[in-house]
């Protein structure tokens, strides 16, 4: 089966992992379903989590996953290889998830680009030192449920930026690229998301005996 080659950065700048991925992209473009399966396998759970973070509905998130990967398959020739495959897939998945939300809410204005910067969401409500190792106090399941509950309470624009940047580990620039936002917009949302989560987690993780007090 013939494979296409990509005109990318000089060969020495591409990691082994990226090279293997581009090889899978080439094979998938030529109609190799197994290669496409191997290409998307490492990203399915992360894309599902991202879709859940936007739609907050399991059924919708499963649809988004299906639609996003199918769309990616149909448009593989548009993947130029100058960004990470994951960043490219995220962009498609975010668009699919927003379309799903718009359909569900019959609201054409649903967007991750809303301006809701009132400053109020950076207000610190509680300051208390935490246990040095908060994970010790809870079982893994309890910990997972505390973290999920806290992140679910964030507005979608904060949840999505935080998930990509701090949970998935994308850089600020990659997050901006994937969400088609400016770098300053990502930074400002990330700060708010981090502060809001810190606030929410303080009620679980604060050091016993410490009195929290109002601030600002």
């Amino acid at each position: 089966m013939a494979t296409e080659s990509f005109s990318l950065a000089p060969a020495e700048e591409i990691s082994e992992e990226a090279r293997a991925e581009l090889e899978l992209v080439s094979r998938a473009r030529s109609g190799d379903a197994t290669a496409f399966g191997a290409l998307i396998r490492p990203y399915e759970a992360r894309i599902f989590r991202l879709a859940m973070s936007i739609t907050q509905n399991r059924e919708d998130a499963e649809d988004v996953l299906q639609e996003a990967f199918l769309k990616a398959f149909e448009h593989l020739e548009q993947f130029q290889g100058n960004s990470k495959f994951y960043t490219w897939i995220v962009r498609i998945a975010v668009n699919q998830a927003l379309m799903k939300l718009r359909k569900r809410k019959s609201d054409r204005s649903v967007s991750l680009d809303e301006q809701i910067d009132t400053g109020e969401d950076t207000v610190i409500r509680e300051i208390a030192a935490w246990d040095p190792d908060p994970e010790q106090r809870f079982s893994q399941e309890e910990m997972h449920s505390i973290l999920t509950e806290a992140i679910d309470e964030l507005a979608p624009i904060y949840r999505t930026v935080f998930t990509l940047r701090d949970v998935d580990g994308l850089s600020t620039e990659e997050t901006a690229d994937a969400l088609e936002l400016s770098v300053p917009a990502v930074k400002s949302r990330l700060l708010r998301a981090r502060l809001q989560l810190r606030d929410k987690l303080t009620r679980f993780f604060k050091r016993k005996g410490d009195n929290a007090f109002a601030y600002m």
């Binding site: 379903a33 599902f48 996953l65 398959f73 610190i124 910990m143």
Partner: protein, 81 residues
């Protein structure tokens, strides 16, 4: 000295080690003197750290299988055309 508000606005960059040397020195000197901002900085750092290790739940196997079946159908349709 920076105000607490100014400190907070730089907190993310500070934790990401994305501030220049001059700002970094100002931020460090602020937390050395402001116990509230020290706690906020420390607990925000821990917030990021507890989420960093959070694993995504595996998707149900049938979701992957349905997707691959749809891909196969798409390939078959393309080859027929």
């Amino acid at each position: 000295m920076l105000t607490c508000k100014e400190f907070l606005s730089e907190l993310s960059d500070f934790l990401d080690e994305a501030t220049d040397r001059e700002i970094k020195a100002k931020l460090e000197s602020h937390i050395a003197e402001c116990p509230n901002c020290f706690v906020i900085c420390d607990t925000t750092k821990k917030t990021i750290s507890v989420y960093k290790g959070m694993k995504a739940c595996a998707i149900p196997e049938d979701v992957h299988e349905r997707l691959m079946a749809a891909v196969e159908r798409k390939i078959a349709a393309t080859q027929k055309a």
